[in-house]
Symmetry: C2
């Protein structure tokens, strides 16, 4: 027995945020399988969006924002690529500059002492009022996740009652010469 | 045996499109279970988006657009409500007027004979150029699914090379007096 406390430095890789674009067959159960791959192994999904992109070829594009050590990200990509209904996996984070956007609908109480300030903030964030009633406004705001986080943080104390947020869509930027 | 052909009218309920807002615990595996409920029973998912809405209470909101007979829709709602991590299911389609939006990023070739027409259409649809290079534009467009379908149909023959689409977010409109 000893009282010496060993100060062993923790070997811990930093988690990095990666955005993956995954082209899959638009078939029954493919989304469930892709999500199952993450939840079954404890891999994190920060955001997921999916939509059909080629109607004729029955293809869908899933955009997944995940985070983990570089080793985990590589593992995720390898597992996705091996799935039969997966045609292509693009890691937008490592492949150069890319554009990310989310849309969010935010409902704010109307006719309160905070209404004027809420409208001013909406204006700054280029949010559009898509519904107006005596009791509430619904704003539509499309931006990066960071900007949407900031918008929500500002709106929450000003009478925000409800919101619906899409998660991230992403696309590689064009090559600049 | 008889040669009489009985012309029995087919009893077939029309499939209707419903938009559901589902508030769930933001826990590991909940999304996989919700999607599993649909894929396991052959229920259709036209669109699905998910994002955290209450960080403190660890709640996420899933917006699902599904279609089926009224009987199937009722069954889906009942099954969702019975799941432990589901707090609330709102059928926005039956609960009055609601707002739906999607964001889509569309990449179009630049410097082609079609570029001018593509820019004109982007302008009509209030699409914003979020990236421009010698070879391509990336447009961001936020609108209803119908409008986005129309935008994509027009852009596809004008040099569309890639797109990423979020799926639907939805929120109930304010009550009009």
């Amino acid at each position: 027995m000893s009282d010496i406390v060993y100060d062993i430095p923790e070997v811990k890789e930093t988690a990095v945020r990666h955005t993956l674009a995954v082209l899959v067959d638009n078939e029954f159960g493919v989304l469930a399988r892709v999500i199952g791959l993450f939840s079954g192994r404890g891999y994190n999904i920060e955001s997921l969006t999916v939509a059909e992109v080629e109607h004729d070829q029955k293809l869908s594009r899933i955009t997944i924002v995940t985070s983990g050590s570089e080793m985990v990200i590589e593992q995720i990509k390898r597992l996705l690529e091996r799935m039969v209904p997966v045609h292509k996996v693009n890691d937008l984070t490592t492949e150069g500059v890319h554009i990310e956007r989310e849309v969010t609908l935010v409902k704010i109480r109307n006719n309160t002492p905070n209404t004027e300030e809420a409208l001013r903030i909406a204006d700054v964030f280029r949010a559009r009022a898509v519904d107006t009633s005596q009791d509430s406004f619904v704003f539509e705001v499309t931006d990066t996740s960071d900007k949407i986080d900031a918008f929500i943080d500002l709106m929450r104390p000003l009478g925000m009652t409800e919101m619906a947020r899409s998660g991230v869509v992403a696309i590689a930027a064009g090559k600049k010469k």
